[in-house]
Amino acid sequence: MMVKKNKVSVICPYCGAGCRFGLIVENGRATGIDYEPDHPVALGALCPKGNSAVELLNHPERLTFPIRREHNGTTRRITWDEALQFVANKLRQIREDFGADAVGFLASAKVSNEENYLFQKLARLFGSPHVDHCARLCHSPSIVALSRAFGSGAMTNPIPDLENSRCILIIGSNFSENHPVVSRWVLNAKDRGAFIIAVDPRKTPTTEIAHIHLMIRPGTDGILLNAIMAQILREGLANYDFIASRTEGFERLKNKLQQFDIIKAAEQVGVPVGDIVITARKYATSPSSAIIYCMGITQHRHGTDYAASCANLALLCGHIGRSGAGIFPLRGQNNVQGASDMGALAEFLPGYVRTNDVKKRQLVAKLWGCEDIPSSGLSVTEIIGAILDGKIKALFVMGENPIVSDPCSSETEKALSMLDLLVVQDIFMTETANFAHVVLPAAMWAEKSGSYTNTERRVQWSPKALNPPNEAKSDLWIIGNLGKLLGLWDTLPQPEDMLREINQVVPFYGGITPERIAKSKEGLIWPCPDEHHPGTPILYSEKFHRENERATFTVPEIDFEAPRSFEPFSLITGRVVVHYNSGSITRKLPSLLRYTPKLELTIHPSDAGELGIKDGSTVLVKTVKGTVETVVKVSPSVRQGSVFMPFHFPETNRLTPKDLDPMARIPSFKDAQCQLIRKDK
Amino acid sequence: MKEIFVRIDRCVGCRSCELACAVEHSRSKTLFGAISEVPRPKKRVYVEYIEHRKVPFLCRHCEDAPCVKACRTGALSQDPVTRIVTHNPDRCIGCWLCAMTCPYGMINREEERRIAVKCDRCPEREEPACVNACPTKALVFAEEQEFSKLVRRETLSKLLPGYAS
């Protein structure tokens, strides 16, 4: 038999780095991976997750037909017509009974730009303001803080540009495990003589790269950043020319930092004063410094202020808008940047148009052919609260797993079981899909075409490589048909048409046409306002994206000087290299699962000694939100007084608290207090 | 212990050291004999032309030599007194862990025997062949104090011409 073998160049479905690889397809089945050494992000490298792509595509547990759950809990296979008709009728009925406000929509950072755009359009044309997605749970503080300071909430430089940096401050990021391809560029910079500083409450493969590691107390990032800034000001190392010519609001920050006591701060943070001084000097004096930060900064009660402090630090030293100097908030999913750009957020329309800005909002409405668009809605975590209050009756979830990813799973579970209608559109039967009334089987990334925006703002086209299994359909097909049934539009859109519409609606995607990015392997980096624009790899080299073209210093309202103390243990959550987010994909792949098969709690040896537990014994972890049983791993990789749990397993987020950051509405995943109870057999 | 010191500013890139090294490590020990020998004698010093500068590179015979640590078959060994790292070709299996770990790139490959080749600081000679051959005295074989003295005297002679000579 003739074997039809071809290679399709697709975008990796995992983290936000946006690596490209060749998928080898034989007779309509994915059989192998071909590395593409000419791709700029990672030079063809792939982390273990990326290497599991073939195994994922051929997974036997994929959802292949629509499923309906009856009142008595039994499930049965239904046809697409029946499924879509049922969802449309039920949605209409709920809108009539309770108003459009009673329907929530959760978009996904895993699907393409076109699908997210259409999804939020569906939600907003349907009349519901409540559309959000899991960017809320990782980098919403970055969007808020960075767009307030600079005008755009994205990474300022491309990843390979890290190589040109002479000092890299890594704070609250473990990219060696979460974005492994970033480590190549940091190591290259190190080889070229850059000074690497890592700030992390744990010892990780990332901190091993660093020259100095500031092992801070969990939750004291804000104090540390302010201490660094205070030291820079005290030594007169700030870039006063840059401050004078390109920023505003410096005086307020200066006044605030003048009274800052570094010695006291060092005590609170739990690192030697000398380390803070070295960090301040190295960061300020190097010709180009970069800050890499991640969820260690954002997932706090004051995440927005922490992210703003990062921006302040960069502005203070003028380390922004040049090659090797910038802020690198690394995004977690392959299209979390794109989903935010497409307006799948409660307070933003496509192109970061604020929903409460009536004038601009109506311009978008005009393009969509309607009169007005609902204003600001509820965020991911608030939607769950609103369900519990009985305000939201129906939830449409596209490719998310809130039970595992949201804080306080028991409440989420309770909320989901209260709904009149829960539609889940996914590739596997996730924990959330188990609660759904209708489960719609979706296609995976290689089974549809679309564009994805990676963490560097690089928009890349990923063509269709193979057909979805059985009856699974692309998300665009599902949303398109649902919209048709709801009477929102008449035609079933194609990905290319959708991107052309995005070109019109989102100004900085203006020149990113399907023709251009389908041809180029490297994609285009937004802002790219017109057809001939080459893209903008480095932001703010001449002006900031604010009205007066100046950046602004934001002075946090709160005092960082009193850190919360967590007794007896503070619980840190994070990731491990072989798993991905809620683990709904990676926990199904045996080749990845063998490295980290189950949940483990890491504890410092002396804490373990005090509690009388050893490696491999079982403990109960207790927080205000719940109790979970887990196995212990004793390792000095955590600080005394703190414990670590990866959040890829459903148990972890049963423990996390639900306190929200007031501005970005991100839950404080990393501010939990826990108790350990020894469980003897 | 005597070391080979390099005065980079004196190197003119004549490659006399390379030639002398290859000859010294030939069987015949003469230039004409060495040319016709099979396997061809290999040099163990390298002159690189970088940015219009000529820089000679020699094995530093590091105190805590990474190549010796990396060698699993005992082909590389370090004399505890003289710190000279020598290579025993009979024990070498050509795994290139030494070439991989050497931070200065001083271990090279001998094509014919397919094993590593590196500086042995001419065990049969008083003064290494490369030093002997250097026409500009860019290579100096001396004790550390002696060399410092030399540098001091040289600086002095630059400042006060005629004083030192």
Partner: protein, 154 residues
């Protein structure tokens, strides 16, 4: 039906015969300290897989009751087979197809104490190498770890 005879003097306990035998006649039993090669049952007629793969020609295939001297020859380096020496010794005559066991004590890793291989096997390897390049009494995991431990700084 034929049977297998393993010379306890020549065998080095490498397990090649056990993985070659498709009929499950040669089995390996391993504990922390010992490796036991167990032969039981009869061979199909043409199969000589185990004999083919044996590195030391320690396997003979025959029929009926034979003396081991008969099969291996008295003067072929395994002369001691005929004189009793230790518990690992063949009886002077053996009925083929009967159960035989060859027992080896495993050399332990000098670094981690895990078993490596029978001493006879390691001796065989060092005899075959042109010269002893390194010490063989390290287990695979320790060799792998040692490869990087010396080089890696952190």
């Amino acid at each position: 039906m034929k049977g297998i005879l393993i010379s306890k003097d020549l065998c080095i306990g490498c397990r090649a015969c056990a993985s070659a035998c498709e009929h499950g006649i040669i089995q390996i039993e391993e504990t922390k300290e010992f490796r036991k090669i167990i032969v039981s049952g009869s061979c199909p007629d043409e199969c000589e897989n185990c004999k083919d793969v044996c590195p030391t020609e320690a396997i003979k295939i025959g029929e009926g009751v034979v003396s081991s001297c008969q099969l291996f020859g008295a003067g072929t380096g395994s002369a001691s087979t005929c004189s009793s020496r230790n518990e690992n010794q063949l009886p002077a005559a053996i009925k083929l197809r009967e159960r035989q066991e060859v027992l080896f004590r495993l050399t332990l890793c000098r670094r981690c104490g895990m078993p490596i291989a029978p001493e006879a096997m390691l001796n065989f390897i060092s005899r075959r190498m042109t010269q002893p390049l390194f010490e063989l009494d390290l287990c695979i995991t320790c060799r792998q770890q040692l490869m990087w431990e010396a080089i890696r700084k952190r």
